[in-house]
């Protein structure tokens, strides 16, 4: 899937270009020393019908005086687990599965078809600050939206220890015109040995949301030059390099 971004330069000229993730893949894989193939499979261990909760709900026992009812049922189940293995479905346990859809289930472990979502916001000390309808972030780097240079140029030597740049993308040209466009941008940033803060949205100050429903990130653009070749890296961050609060 090719992903596009609308990017404007310092002169506010914009162009649609592509970008590619720079997240590296692991260099080491686990295998047999003789090179024989290892197959990874997902298997079923249990289902909702044989979960502890479902098994407990099958008993029609009445509470015994002086005995905790939960403990009474748990004791009954423990006996059955030893004697009858109700937690094992011989037809299903160990079955390979490939395609799993996602559903919401209620406390009775039944699928639900109408749901309400509430977003709870907690402080660093785990105190509930507020509840609200979940906020959905729409992608603001393509379509009508243009990612702009904020004008905040930060020398590399001053910015590297201010933020944690968790994600990286490489910007790429799509034709000769956009090659010139991106090369000039990279050269300007390389000459100044600085990162340019980018921003999106109507105000041109908002953090970037790279895909619908994604998280907002502050973005910084780095440019490198080697002869007639360029390298533009988009660094994303949602974390300042700050010490942990004292406990």
């Amino acid at each position: 899937m090719i992903r596009y971004i609308n990017l404007a330069n310092a002169k506010k000229r914009d162009a649609e270009i592509t970008f590619k993730s720079l997240n590296p893949k692991p260099a080491v894989i686990m295998g047999f020393a003789n090179g024989a193939q290892v197959l990874n499979k997902r298997v079923i261990k249990s289902t909702s019908s044989i979960s502890t909760q479902s098994l407990l709900s099958k008993y029609n026992d009445k509470p015994t005086k002086g005995v905790d009812f939960q403990m009474q049922l748990a004791g009954r189940l423990a006996e059955d687990l030893i004697l009858a293995d109700p937690e094992i479905d011989l037809e299903l346990t160990g079955k390979f599965i490939d395609d799993v859809s996602r559903v919401y289930i209620n406390e009775e472990q039944k699928p639900v078809f109408r749901i309400n979502k509430v977003e709870k916001i907690f402080s660093p000390s785990a105190k509930l600050k507020k509840e609200r309808a979940p906020k959905y972030n729409e992608c603001n780097i393509t379509g009508e939206d243009i990612v702009k240079w904020s004008g905040k140029l930060m020398p590399k030597t001053q910015v590297y220890n201010k933020f944690v740049f968790a994600k990286k993308y490489q910007l790429r040209h799509v034709n000769g015109l956009t090659y010139d466009f991106l090369f000039d941008m990279a050269k300007e940033l390389s000459d100044k040995d600085s990162l340019m803060m980018l921003a999106g949205g109507a105000s041109g100050k908002e953090p970037l949301v790279m895909n619908d429903g994604g998280k907002p990130y502050r973005a910084f653009l780095e440019g490198r030059i080697k002869g007639e070749k360029y390298c533009l890296i988009l660094h994303l961050t949602d974390l300042e390099l700050k010490p942990l609060p004292s406990e």
Partner: protein
């Protein structure tokens, strides 16, 4: 007492315990709770073959040999991309970690996985002086002995020392003719999972 890692550079040695910097502890967090029509709390589960409901923990990943027999991880070894066996990388707690100086550009190529704050009891000021002068140090980080270590850098933000760990990315230098290379399928799994709610933040 917390385990300490020992770092050494140019005759200067420091010992530190590493505390993971969690975003939640700095900014807080948000979570999304789901309720049905009767205000009963709901959980996300898997649905296999349209009929089996799989609550969290109902499935497991298994490794099999070509005969279909279950194998344990201890039977496997680490192999590089060419299929050559690789040695285990020791834990940072098992030996003195030798640091080498790195450049800002090298550090900026790191795709960050985790951040640790170093709690240094002795010679912290000496080490901070070196880092605050703009020095960055590289080392290989492994919390436990394993086949692949992470790339890691020690940097300071004036008052504290941090280890930033992850994997170095390999950005390409692109010439005029390199535009065709962009026409490759990008991994879908790089697109974020949109279920996680998060705080909007304003850091400036």
């Amino acid at each position: 007492m917390a385990k300490k890692a020992k770092f050494s550079f140019n005759g200067l040695s420091i010992e530190a315990d590493l505390k993971k910097v969690d975003r939640k502890k700095i900014y807080g967090w948000s979570s999304i709770e789901v309720y049905d029509e009767n205000k009963s709390k709901c959980k996300l589960a898997g649905l296999a073959e349209g009929k089996y409901i799989l609550p969290t923990g109902s499935t497991s990943l298994v490794m099999l040999n070509t005969k279909g027999e279950n194998i344990s991880r201890s039977e496997l070894v680490g192999l590089d991309r060419s299929g050559k066996r690789v040695d285990k990388v020791p834990s940072v707690y098992d030996r003195t970690v030798m640091l080498r100086e790195a450049t800002v550009d090298e550090y900026l190529s790191l795709s960050v996985k985790s951040v640790y704050q170093l709690n240094i009891e002795e010679k912290k000021e000496d080490f901070l002086k070196v880092l605050n002068a703009g020095k960055i140090f590289y080392f290989v980080f492994n919390y436990r002995e394993d086949y692949e270590g992470d790339d890691a850098y020690l940097i300071s933000n004036e008052n504290e020392v941090f280890a930033i760990t992850g994997m170095l990315s390999e950005p390409e230098f692109l010439g005029l003719q390199d535009n065709e290379q962009e026409l490759v399928a990008e991994d879908i799994d790089d697109i974020e999972d949109t279920d996680e709610g998060d705080l909007d933040f304003a850091m400036f």
